[in-house]
């Protein structure tokens, strides 16, 4: 009896949801359960009609930036997991928040590293012993600034990653390109999210963005020229770096469609790369009010003008229940795993029996068990 009515409710709700029958028709179909259907079906529909809640845009972007930053930081310091677990048992939760952790790193940096070391780390490349010092210093700077200032910092750091990619390529250290490429990708994503969020302030960064766009283009062209002449193992890093460069350009073009129209990766068609490696792409039109992507343009009167039609202005609008992934039930990631020559994560953290939060069994998700 209970099973029957449970299935009848479920079946009728599905039918109403898919527009196959109305509420009245559903109730008329089962006169013996009329009272219960009259009570429960409208209630279910009322819950479905509750206004949808969406996370605040500021939270959405800030959390995304923090998570990706944390991921990049942890990938740079593979031994961190063990230390963090010790801290987890020792300190209250607030001490583990990224801002606090990074502030502690700052203090430790100041206390333990000489100014000379930090200065020397500024020129370090991925794979160098001092590179973690350089990236930790960047994390500290991000922690100590607000979200708006973070946008400029991310752009600056992305610029630094391009410099690293160029220097690595010049030295033939192709195996280290992947690290710089992944950080470039993540930092461009974070910069784009923040510029999108604080679009009014984005104009302040226009000159920086313009310079970065050109450097992304230059890097892409340079790597494309190198790619064909290198053995396959080296091409992995080159490909990642090329992808990160072209994605970075696309992000900028998306944010400033009038000034940086989307074009072929690198802005220059393949085969012409040797001719004009630096400089604005041929097809770049003048920007609004005559402010175009000249080599060193001044800030436009309104660089964001014209992007309004293209940008999603309705981020805060509630989405339909279920979000964009409705019905998305992917199969297992069969064969999912890195190539054998790629180390996907901190080896010390894998499958540690005491680490309940990271779920060594692989059968249950993270988080405490009820």
């Amino acid at each position: 009896m209970k099973d029957d009515i449970a299935h009848i409710i479920a079946e009728n709700l599905d039918a109403i949801e898919h527009g196959r029958i109305t509420l009245e028709e559903a109730i008329a179909r089962y006169p013996e359960y009329r009272d219960e259907l009259l009570e429960l079906l409208p209630l279910a529909l009322a819950i479905r009609d509750l206004p949808a809640v969406s996370p605040r845009s500021s939270f959405r972007y800030a959390a995304r930036g923090r998570i990706l930053r944390e991921i990049s930081a942890r990938q740079q310091r593979p031994q961190g997991g063990r230390l963090k677990r010790v801290f987890q048992f020792t300190f209250p939760q607030f001490l583990l928040r990224p801002a606090f952790s990074l502030a502690v790193i700052l203090v430790l940096l100041v206390a333990t590293l000489s100014a000379g070391t930090v200065y020397a780390a500024g020129g370090a490349l991925p794979g160098d012993a001092l590179y973690p010092v350089k990236t930790a210093t960047e994390e500290v700077r991000l922690t100590l600034s607000d979200d708006q200032a973070d946008a400029a910092l991310y752009l600056q750091f992305a610029d630094e990653r391009l410099e690293e990619i160029n220097r690595l390529a010049a030295r033939g250290r192709y195996e280290d390109l992947a690290i710089a490429a992944q950080r470039l990708d993540s930092q461009m994503e974070s910069a784009a999210s923040l510029l999108d969020l604080y679009e009014a302030e984005a104009s302040d960064q226009y000159a920086q963005i313009d310079r970065l766009y050109e450097e992304l283009e230059f890097t892409y062209v340079l790597l494309a020229a190198l790619e064909d002449n290198l053995p396959e193992p080296a091409q992995y890093g080159i490909n990642l770096a090329m992808q990160a460069s072209s994605k970075g350009q696309a992000k900028i073009a998306e944010l400033f469609p009038n000034n940086f129209p989307p074009g072929p990766p690198g802005g220059v068609p393949p085969g012409q790369s040797g001719d004009t490696p630096v400089g604005p792409p041929e097809g770049k039109p003048e920007g609004p009010q005559g402010v175009g992507p000249q080599k060193t343009p001044g800030p436009p009167v309104n660089p964001g003008q014209g992007q309004g039609q293209d940008k999603d202005k309705d981020k805060d609008k509630p989405e339909s229940p279920g979000g964009p992934s409705q019905g998305n039930t992917p199969g297992p990631p069969e064969g999912a795993g890195p190539p054998e020559d790629v180390d996907p994560g901190p080896p010390d953290d894998r499958g540690r029996p005491e680490d309940t939060s990271t779920n060594p069994s692989g059968n249950q998700p993270a988080g405490g068990k009820p």
Partner: protein
Amino acid sequence: MAPKPPEPPDADLIRRTMMGEAAAYGALYDRYIDQIYRYVYARVASRDDAEDMTEEVFLKTWESLVNSRPTITNFQAWLYRTAHNLVIDHYRTHKATHSLDQVPALNDDKPLPERAVLDQLDNTRLVRAIQNLEPNLQQVIICRFINGLSHAETAQVLDTNENNTRIMQYRALKKLRKFLEMDLD
């Protein structure tokens, strides 16, 4: 305007995440942030807590992906279960109980449209009633009706079968009806 390219499937993004590509995990975050946030918010009834916990869900899930390298057949269900575990931990740690008067409506931060004051009151009662259900019944209601998951997807989140999900849905609706009647009295 050129059509938008198809989004990569979860399995592809998971594989790339496991290879160390942070941007791939960013895409998974973008795909699921709304529904996970809604799920957590509906259960903890605090925007600040919901934000902290949603962020933690995504960090913990990433840790699991790269450290334990599990075989995940349904990433969405995995995220929901991580969120559920964190909600349980949250209540265990804080031993917080929300009285009916403390629980805000789901749309507590939205400006009220002109005509909807009465609807708003009804919504508030309804949300409070949902938050007084037992956790597993709450999960069914949130997955099915607030996040719009199918019976099959809800069953995967709850780690049960579709038949049980239908029965739990019925029990949850019956209890809600009872709570609302008590609230009226």
